[in-house]
Symmetry: C2
Subunit: 438 residues, 2 copies
């Protein structure tokens, strides 16, 4: 077993790929002390060999096509860090069929094609590991698949997109509005030039698809996830939430309820006493609530070259141990075995039950509140509290900030349509769900 070498190929040399090359070099000895084997990069692949990058690739065998790499090289593991779901998917499926194990950081690939990949990989007794696909350095995949394996998981809730969390944190800290902070995030490299994928919640939804499949033993089902971004959150809302004892966070939530499973990504008010309410900036955190362990929380860097590489390399090491032991048993890709997954009812967002924060901009005249509360009454919505802004008493328009008791969302949605039709109501009503997370 000692002095055995594991040969890997690395496809994709962007931020994460460079991090993996650097980390394997930097901590070669540390890894050998733990494992007793060496991880050798047999070859690498990227579209452009001459591009400037953050790792030194001199001395590595180079392929411009990753499919050529797996055809030509004798490797144990391919590390797919190309991204996207075109070439990456072809590479992963071909590798599995050639009995080459796969490590990937590709959330879109797993979220959109994981069911197929899972089935084929089990058939071929080949591992596909994806720790780095969710929450960067935070080992949430291993925790759910292995550490909580004796539990029935009730719900998961995560801050799993650093860009949105950075923006919400900065808006509140610096009292700036969304657009200004977004510009700052772009300058700092925390937001892409086209940030729609992060800001709009798609990135978080890919990750929620993965987390919910392995938590609840259900097929990956990206399309059933309700997704709402943070584009409409205003500084006013962050301030009102604070006054009410809450913090607004963009959460990915999966929850078992009586009639199925809720899967949703949207901004939430959460009590400021919750640990996750104090997770700021680009950091990620996931809370998992399960029957035996109770609530547990996992926190750390959600992105970054070496942080993500830490998860990629831990997957390489896990698979290497398996290869060396000639073991043919893996933790199932989706945590639950093929055939043991249950097809649950994924609730439409209109069916979920929640408390709501509502901000309604109205003309400042007597009787307005009465007309609004009458509509709420007609939809069986009770108001828990109203935030009065006395200092605005002489303004033409004033905000009414309301917190409702728990109610089915369709009642709220329908009531808001009626309220928005009142001529005394200006602008679209801001509606943010409240999550107690207990």
């Amino acid at each position: 077993m000692k002095n055995k070498k594991i040969r890997i190929g690395i496809a994709g040399l962007g931020t994460v790929g460079s991090g993996v090359v650097n980390l394997l070099d930097k901590n070669k000895e540390e890894i050998f002390r733990r494992t007793g084997f060496e991880i050798e990069i047999a070859a690498i692949s990227a579209t452009d060999k001459t591009k400037q990058r953050d790792c030194d690739i001199t001395g590595f065998k180079f392929y411009s096509n990753p499919l050529d790499l797996i055809d030509s090289e004798q490797i144990d593991i391919i590390v797919e860090l190309i991204g996207g779901d075109k070439v990456a998917k072809e590479l992963v499926l071909k590798s599995i069929k050639k009995n080459i194990h796969v490590v990937t950081a590709n959330k879109a690939l797993i979220a959109l094609h994981g069911n197929e990949i899972s089935e084929i990989s089990e058939k071929n007794q080949c591992d596909v590991a994806f720790e780095a696909s969710v929450a960067g350095a935070v080992p949430i995949i291993k925790v759910i698949r292995e550490s909580l394996s004796a539990n029935k998981i009730f719900w998961i809730a995560g801050i799993i997109n650093g860009t949105t969390n950075f923006i919400l944190t900065k808006m509140l800290q610096t009292k700036k509005n969304f657009d200004d902070v977004l510009e700052e995030a772009k300058k700092l490299g925390y937001a892409e030039a086209d940030p729609a994928f992060d800001i709009g919640g798609i990135d978080a939804a890919h990750k929620l698809a993965i987390l919910s499949s392995i938590s609840f033993g259900i097929p990956l089902d990206f399309n059933s996830i309700y997704v709402e971004g943070i584009e409409n959150i205003e500084l006013d809302d962050l301030n009102y939430a604070k006054e009410l004892g809450y913090v607004i966070k963009h959460l990915a939530i999966g929850r078992r309820v009586k009639n199925g499973i809720e899967l949703r990504v949207h901004p939430c008010l959460i009590p400021n006493t919750r640990l996750i309410a104090n997770v700021d900036g680009v950091k990620n955190a996931v809370v998992v609530s399960s029957d035996a362990a109770g609530p547990t929380l996992y926190y750390g860097a959600g992105a970054g070259s070496l942080a993500t590489a830490s998860s990629v390399v831990s997957d390489i090491i896990d698979i290497s141990r398996k290869i060396i032991s000639k073991s043919n048993v893996s933790v199932p890709l989706q945590s639950y075995q093929q055939g043991s997954q249950s097809k649950e009812n994924i609730l439409n967002i209109r069916e979920i039950k929640s408390r709501y924060y509502l901000r309604i901009r109205v003309i400042n005249e007597p009787g307005v509140l009465a007309r609004i509360t009458k509509i709420f009454g007609s939809k069986s919505i009770s108001i828990e509290s109203i935030l009065q802004k006395e200092d605005l008493i002489n303004d033409e328009f004033v905000p009414i900030v309301l917190v409702t008791h728990a109610v089915v969302e369709k009642n709220i949605t329908d009531a808001l349509v009626d309220i928005e039709n009142l001529e005394v109501v200006k602008d679209k009503i801001i509606k943010i769900r409240i999550e107690e997370l207990n």
Copy 2:
């Protein structure tokens, strides 16, 4: 592979043992859906069969001596939940020699005899798993041994004793003193009748011995750990710390420094902006800072029947997978392979460098502060800030609350001896280390 059964024996049916029996029954189906095998309790053992307990043991084969259990039964895994390091040690060593894998929650056993157990278990290719020995439901052992396997770990800092954290939290929240809150903790079952083991820090030190060995690749070395309890923390200190922007927590700290490794358990002031500063009550949390992943934090229930059983059963499942795959490769018990551990210099507490919070009770007269600061000056200690309590101006005695810049501890210790010798100084000086945790 399907429908294979794993046979286990359970030795010890206290809080954790009952939890394991209950959890294996409750989540039998959930575990089968994940693993494809059944975990069968072949036999159980406890000193008194008739004792009332929280699990139903009718139908189980019973032994009053666990050594008889492993001699008479064909089992794959023995679950050692007896506690202590006498019978437990005998049982574990005998099991390994009979090629029966071991799962244990016994921190004292691993902390005090882990080096020996590790060596013998590797020789016999037999696993000894101990996730439940530190931080209850929090999977900190697996995270350090497997998820952070590509990292060089710089430092670890944990709230890993629920009793002390409950007391410190309650004192601040309810403005009660130590003795009153300790009584409350006893009533709630959060503190033992003889709480010295928890309050004095020995329990946390056992856990730190384990965490530091697997984090730094050093032999277990319980006796080199500096241990200080929370007996001397007064409500005043919690209040002053709060005024300074800190929270007092009882931390277990392991840290690589230039000339060796620091291992210490003691109360600390930590900035209230740190996530771990917000970990309250009986909860546990561990921060691990490593070169690639950066700082990551793991949080959850540190004790409790089912919470601890969650970790025990996850270990049983891990080992069962290994048995079924006929794998002969394990993650090394101490994370690093036998022979790869380094013997590092464990620093004496006098050699560590820290900032200090000091509370000195003095006679309220002119010139006292000058005499004190002169002594600090003579030991190269600079003062960062002094908290003046103006409202005490007419009292006979007043506290001087100081924060020092970073300095080697022996300078502080020596200075405090001289200061305590001044006739204007009353009582022992309260000295609490400040940890920035960054």
